[in-house]
């Protein structure tokens, strides 16, 4: 009898120990559903777009700044670029709903992958949960990158590699194809929080961190894939596909507009890791004196000054 109990208890301990060490495959929380975008950083990305020359708070290095300042918005009219997808880092920024669904093993019923569809101009990101390794450096970089996930407690941790060279912000900052991304997704009832660490050894000196909050909203009814896209000739000049719109170093006429417009020091507008931290404000305190613009004509709704009126026109744009 004792022998039987020892054997049985030992077997159960071995089994439990194995199950605990294999926790990522078992401890899953249901993330499926349509999640409406509630709030996130860099809301301008979802409105009129970030201003040319606004690199504030982005941890770019000198090379990243050089590429950003050479950017001409006419690049978006290159026929080859018109239907390109955004980088998977844009999955975290909305504004469209995030459609999340799982793929299950037909035999075991286990979830082998989570899929995230963020709709327009964004590829479906498949997050493999079956422990497969990331491909080699010679493998193709799809628009979605290659993502794997593990559960750490109730947090889904997603590691993405094989990301295509793309825009870090749509005002011309770029990230390279060596960028990687780590995301932490936590469900709190009907809310979903997403923390994104975006790293790029080529253009960033520190991780670019983004957070966003989503709310379960079946009515958002987001499609899983982006609509089909057809490029057109937007500019006769660019029908010559060998032309690449850009500004030569020091020749971008819009480079300082953002800093001038908001009366910001150029040092802050041109970004860099230091501009992310509160210490940067202290550094500027004695050398920079803020002079408010005479009147607010853009993004006034975000002004902390109650005297600034928020006026929107029929399209919802601030005027």
């Amino acid at each position: 009898m004792i022998k039987f109990r020892i054997f049985t208890i030992t077997s159960i301990i071995v089994l439990l120990g194995t199950l605990l060490t294999s926790a990522p495959a078992f401890a899953q929380i249901d993330l499926s559903g349509v999640w409406g975008f509630v709030r996130g950083q860099y809301g301008q990305e979802n409105a009129g777009g970030s201003d040319i020359g606004d690199f504030t708070g982005i941890p770019i290095n000198d090379e990243g700044r050089a590429v950003g300042l050479s950017f001409s918005a006419a690049q978006w009219s290159e026929p080859e670029r018109q239907c390109q997808y955004y980088s998977p880092r844009y999955v975290s920024t909305g504004p469209f709903a995030l459609n999340v669904w799982s793929d299950t093993d037909p035999v075991t019923g286990r979830i082998v992958a989570w899929n995230m569809g963020a709709w327009i101009d964004k590829d479906i990101v498949t997050v493999w949960m079956d422990g497969r390794p990331h491909p080699s450096v010679n493998a193709f970089h799809p628009y979605s990158g290659f993502a794997t996930g593990t559960w750490e407690g109730d947090t889904l941790v997603i590691r993405t590699t094989h990301i295509k060279w793309s825009v870090l912000r749509i005002n011309g900052l770029q990230h390279s194809d060596r960028a990687t991304m780590t995301q932490y997704i936590v469900r709190h009832g009907d809310l979903l929080s997403m923390l994104t660490y975006f790293e790029d050894p080529v253009y960033l000196s520190e991780p670019f961190v983004l957070s966003s909050v989503w709310q379960l909203n079946p009515k958002a009814n987001s499609s899983r894939t982006s609509p089909a896209c057809e490029p057109i000739n937007e500019s006769p000049r660019l029908e010559n596909t060998s032309i690449v719109p850009h500004y030569l170093p020091g020749k971008n006429p819009f480079a300082n507009d953002y800093a001038r417009y908001y009366n910001l020091p150029l040092e802050a507008a041109q970004g860099g890791a230091q501009t992310m931290y509160p210490e940067f404000r202290k550094k500027l305190k004695d050398v920079y004196h803020y002079v408010p613009p005479e009147k607010c004509t853009r993004y006034c709704c975000d002004s902390p000054d109650p005297a600034v009126k928020c006026v929107r026109d029929g399209s919802g744009q601030v005027r």
């Binding site: 039987f4 089994l15 000198d62 080859e80």
Partner: protein
Amino acid sequence: MARKYSKSWKRKLEAWALALAVLGSAAGVRYASAQDRQPNSRDLEVLQVQPNFYMIAGAGGNIGVQLGPAGIVLVDTGSAGTSDKVLAAIKKISDKPIRYIIDTSADPDHVGGNSALSRAGLSIISGVVGNPAFGEDVLGNNGAASLLAHDNVLSRMNPGDSAEWPTKTYTSKFYKMSLNGDGIETFHQPAAHTDGDSFVLFRRSNVIVAGDLFDPTRFPVIDTGKGGSIHGVIDALNRLLELTIPPYPQPWLSERTFVIPGHGPVSDSHDLLEYRDMVVIVTDIIQDMINRSMTLEQVKAANPTRGYNARYGANTGPWTTEMFVTSVYKGLSAKGR
């Protein structure tokens, strides 16, 4: 109160507990081993690009492998000394003979396996055809697979390496053939990386093997000593872009033209575009500096490749950023664009 168990029930329970423990352990081990399974960079890597098309990496330059009922078409053969491994890799994906080898340039890391891989193959031309004066050696490469390249590749190859020489050359803008149900077009791009560069378009497979006309691991290597030029490099990249079909209107699907670069990862039109844009932007910057009468030393000091050094540049090795800037400067200075 002590519960009583029958012997048979105890045996059943013991068996179930043991089975569950073994299964659980096996699942855990399988999960762990999947996590640890990473490619070994010291070995060759075979990547499937399309159902009938592979890329072999790690043998020097990338090698394109088209499979079909008639046999294998290789584009480039890697460096000397890697052929045994390349052959072993090919045998894992096909038991058919190598019929053709197409060289994209005369670079040693692209033609080093010409002789060994050709001899391991089998000519598609059998027996003496027509005039018996043209023997097996002339028409059928002594039974070995045919080696096709632009004529300038032959001119640039070392006279002492005759075993690596192409056995069939072309001098026109292109060379076409149909094999394995595919239309295979080899295009000459004059005065680019060298003066003998070709890229190969496999129409039905929807794959282009670009050779060093597209090398996303570094700034373009422009071998001016072998007739290369920045103008030719840009022309080649534009030509590749013209022929590379993007995944639109349904970018979420995998349908597109895949591009196998001379080195680096399997690519598509997006990757090619980023690289082409970089080359054009840097060239424009250097041209502007030349227009402002800056000397080569002044141009170098002004860092015209700023923005791209960390990704494509090198301070040491066979192709440095300084060598690239110098070749572009000299090319632009020699000929107005």
